[in-house]
């Protein structure tokens, strides 16, 4: 039988003998000046549309919001080039008055649109006022909700007057993944209906302008501006690539193939197996972690999300029982092949959060006691991260770090140890009964749990879901996955699910402030099943104690150290109540090919930003890239 090794050997020999694919095929661009990135949006239906302020009209991450758009501030999900916070179009942080009803923004001067017009306060005022009088633009709603008026103090200073106090208003202009981008007044003021304007070709505020694009939406090519030094990134030097191509390489296996052929420099995401293949067969490929688990952990927290509106999940004992039935090691193996960064608490173990939250919580977690009704147990096992590492070491050898710090960074710290006994006791206390092999709810119904997953669209989450369902099934719960490919978002919105694998927790990653997701968890927003739940409290968890925390956060400054304390309070509450079962960080297998370019971000050497190519923040990557072989 043809063994896997021989097969790969054959493949290898083929690859060795294959024709040189130096040039991007058919492209007349000098490959050593061209950076080819994956656009995870895939093929853009409406390629000729660059008006990013209109919702869903065209592509966003075609390079458009990474390299053409700009706004006041950027928060880096990792360490940042020069600290987590970067003043982009603004020269300093937002300046609020003491009761947070006004925000002043000081603007950078000497920044020019790609058509040679200078960027000024007028553009800001125009952008805001356009959004105030036009509904249905991407940022119309938040502007209309918050802004009473905007004033131009002078060409480099604007003042926002807010309708009500809001200490987080600047978040609207702070790029995490994206934020509200500035419009070129001189272009849009000539336009009748902003919603119907395609903004083609786009006038750029970033270091690149449109060079060429496929009407079919499979590729977009951007060219470095000759006056790149009149853009905000110039502070960090000249962008390396002369050209950027954002392409749709197709499904994971094709991305692997393309990178093996050096026709795709930056892969946005892969299946773990695809990642391993590249790690094995593509010496020129690098990733966030030098070795295993390679992936970049996004500051989002995949979890088992309960529908708190369903009776069976309203008792925290049930939620806890289900948590104690999960063997996170198996989940990590099943979903990420171990390449997961697990988290027991309600924030992702990414960016600077280990420092802000995980270290402080560790103590508390180890001491945390859970009353099963019959006895008190200490469910937290701080060694699970290490256990995963040990489990993987035999097969992956020295790829697996051995010092605790690296292990914690790569695989996370502890988690809840599986405890069927305790789970049984908890369920029994909640009035559930086991008859024969199956569990029944207090109302006599069999205890069935459907785990909604997104199938092909999020393979890893789908795998996590199916293994968790299996673990519950083994215990006598009628659990199955429910593949809602393409419909998950909608069903999530209207609460048409038992549980699903997804995230209701997303953070700044670099900045400890939790309002980014927590504000929306306030019970005031919770609606009944059938009505659409506004993001992100998909679990529809209503908790007075949490509301208090949220209300206080709203009143304190973004950088107020009190924020961290409140964050910790939330984490403890979440641990006790288990409103969702946190699993791990959303690890994105962003892979970079160093055949043509070096200087990609990586945790060990330079974690200046995340390499995940659809993030607005990746504009900082461009100024760090250098050609591998000096241009001839």
């Amino acid at each position: 039988m043809l063994s896997r090794r021989t097969f790969m050997w054959l493949a290898g020999t083929f690859l060795a003998t294959r024709p040189a694919f130096g040039q991007a095929p058919g492209s007349d661009l000098p490959r050593e000046q061209l950076l080819i990135l994956e656009n995870p949006e895939g093929t853009i239906k409406n390629a000729g549309w660059f008006n990013i302020w209109a919702i869903n009209a065209g592509g966003q991450t075609t390079g458009l919001h990474q390299n053409v758009m700009d706004t006041f501030w950027y928060i880096d999900p990792d360490h940042g080039i020069n600290g987590v916070w970067d003043n982009s179009l603004a020269t300093e942080k937002p300046i609020y008055n003491k009761n947070f009803t006004e925000m002043t923004v000081k603007l950078r001067s000497g920044i020019f649109w790609s058509d040679g017009v200078e960027f000024t306060a007028d553009d800001v005022v125009f952008t805001i006022e356009t959004h105030m009088k036009t509904s249905g633009l991407r940022w119309s709603a938040p502007v209309q909700v918050n802004v009473a008026a905007i004033e131009k103090k002078n060409p480099t200073e604007v003042l926002f007057k807010l309708k009500k106090p809001n200490s987080r208003f600047h978040a609207l202009f702070t790029v995490r993944w994206n934020a509200m981008w500035m419009m070129p007044k001189h272009v849009f003021e000539k336009v009748g209906d902003v919603l119907k304007f395609d903004f083609n070709p786009p006038v750029s505020l970033g270091a690149y302008t449109l060079h060429n694009f496929d009407r079919g939406g499979k590729w977009f090519i951007w060219k470095k501006r000759d006056d790149w030094h009149r853009t905000t990134v110039a502070r960090y030097g000249e962008p390396g690539p002369g050209y950027l191509a954002y392409i749709d390489p197709g499904p994971p296996e094709k991305r692997v193939i393309e990178q093996l052929n050096h026709r795709l420099d930056v892969i946005h995401d892969l299946s773990p197996e695809g990642m391993f293949t590249l790690a094995k067969d593509s010496p020129s490929s690098v990733s966030w972690f030098k070795g295993f688990p390679y992936a970049h952990p996004d500051p989002t927290l995949p979890s088992v999300i309960f529908n708190h509106r369903l009776e069976k999940f309203q008792n925290k004992d049930v939620r806890w029982a289900l948590a104690l039935l999960i063997d996170i090691k198996a989940v990590s193996m099943a979903s990420y092949r171990g390449a997961a960064t697990i988290s027991a608490i309600g924030v992702p173990p990414t960016g600077l959060y280990p420092k802000y939250y995980f270290e402080p919580m560790e103590q508390w977690l180890t001491g945390f006691e859970l009353d099963t009704g019959k006895r008190k147990i200490k469910p937290y096992d701080p060694t699970i991260g290490k256990q995963i590492a040990d489990m993987l070491r035999p097969s992956l050898k020295d790829q697996i770090p051995s010092n605790p710090v690296d292990i914690a960074a790569a695989f996370g710290r502890g988690w809840w140890k599986p405890d069927p006994e305790a789970a049984t006791e908890l369920l029994q206390r909640a009035g559930f009964t086991k008859q024969g092999e199956r569990w029944y709810q207090p109302n006599g119904q069999p205890f069935s749990v459907k785990v909604m997953v997104e199938g092909d669209l999020r393979p890893v989450m789908t795998r996590a879901g199916s293994i968790i369902a299996q673990q519950w099934r083994r215990f006598g719960i009628d659990a199955n996955i429910d593949v809602a490919q393409g419909t998950l978002l909608d069903r999530r919105g209207v609460g048409d699910f038992d549980t699903f694998i997804g995230w209701s927790v997303e953070t700044w990653g670099g900045h400890p402030d939790l309002s980014f997701f927590l504000d929306s968890w306030h019970s005031q927003f919770v609606v009944d099943v059938g009505k659409v739940q506004p993001p992100r409290n998909w679990q529809r968890w209503a908790e007075p104690r949490l509301d208090k925390i949220i209300e206080e956060i709203r009143t304190i400054d973004f950088d107020d150290p009190r924020g961290v304390e409140l964050g910790l309070a939330y984490l403890k509450l979440a641990a006790e109540e288990m409103p969702i079962i946190p699993l791990m960080a959303y690890n994105v297998f962003a892979t970079m090919d160093t055949t043509y370019w070096t200087g990609f971000p990586s945790l060990a050497t330079k974690p200046y930003t995340n390499p995940v190519s659809n993030w607005g923040n990746t504009k900082y990557m461009m100024v760090n890239l250098k050609p591998t072989k000096p241009a001839k």
Partner: protein, 286 residues
């Protein structure tokens, strides 16, 4: 009957081969009843083990023994194809015969219905239905839906054969000889139509299973029920091809292909047996 079967087996190569293939397939499918594992459980055995003495067909990245997975997959896939084919045959035969003979208004009405079904691109329809029914779209429901959509093509085929038969002389002679239409249909013409029904039965199984595979691969079916398509779906989820787990594709593909070849061989040998002409040759003018 037994004798016919014995003769078929002994004297018709196609039948013999086809029959043996199907026996193997069914045998494999049947062993699913003795599987040590539940079909949808995963991470039970070592991952990515190539075929070996221990795992005949190897194991996949979900820690499942591909052989046992395959047994379930074959069982479900066969059952699926069979149900679709059976129901749709009944529909198409009935409609084809009726409209082929009745002609006129009946024919037009039936054929408009028919053409509508032919014309609507099924694939988007199935995808849409999947979105509407979601996890109610079990493989059985899917089977019913596809049976309901899969008869039209062959109904038209049968009808056109009917029309050409009707224009043949012997129909008229039998008409004049006072045979009733039903009798003409069943006695004079069914022999010509049956081979078509048989071969289309197989083609239809082919069609339905192929479509099921496709839908499954694209994730538009209930992936909890292992089918051939489902196996490939999971293989894709794990980029099995680029990571060299070729056996995860190879064996499902091999067996589904064998299945079809087997069915096909059976169908053609049946045709030969049923076709009045070849029977004539067989018996000579003695």
């Amino acid at each position: 009957m037994i004798a016919v079967f014995r003769d078929l087996f002994r004297y018709n190569g196609e039948f013999a081969i086809g029959f043996m293939i199907m026996m193997v397939i069914l045998g494999v499918a049947a062993t699913s009843f003795f599987s040590p594992y539940a079909p949808i459980d995963s991470y039970l055995v070592a991952m990515d083990a190539p075929p070996s003495a221990e795992y005949v067909f190897g194991t996949n990245s979900r820690g499942q023994d591909i052989f046992w997975q395959l047994t379930f997959a074959l069982r479900n896939t066969l059952a699926f194809g069979f149900i679709v084919a059976l129901i749709s045959r009944i529909l198409s035969l009935a409609i084809g015969l009726i409209s082929g003979y009745a002609g006129g208004a009946v024919d037009r009405v039936l054929m408009s219905v028919n053409d509508t079904f032919i014309v609507i691109p099924l694939f988007p329809l199935l995808v849409l239905l999947y979105f509407v029914l979601r996890d109610d779209m079990t493989w059985f429901v899917l089977a019913l839906v596809m049976a309901g959509l899969g008869w039209a093509y062959d109904a038209r085929l049968i009808r056109s054969v009917m029309i050409s038969l009707r224009t043949r002389e012997f129909t008229n002679t039998s008409v004049f000889s006072g045979m009733s239409m039903p009798r003409i249909v069943t006695q004079e013409h069914l022999p010509y139509v049956l081979p078509i029904v048989f071969s289309t039965f197989m083609n239809n199984m082919n069609w339905s299973i192929g479509l099921e595979v496709t839908l499954a691969v694209l994730g538009f079916t209930d992936v909890d029920t292992p089918t051939i398509g489902g196996m490939i779906f999971w293989a894709n989820q794990h980029s099995a091809m680029v990571s060299g787990i070729w056996w995860w594709y190879f064996f499902p593909t091999l067996f589904v292909t064998l299945t079809f070849i087997g069915l096909f061989l059976l169908s053609i040998s049946m045709n030969e047996y049923i076709d009045p002409r070849s029977r004539l040759d067989r018996m000579g003018n003695s």
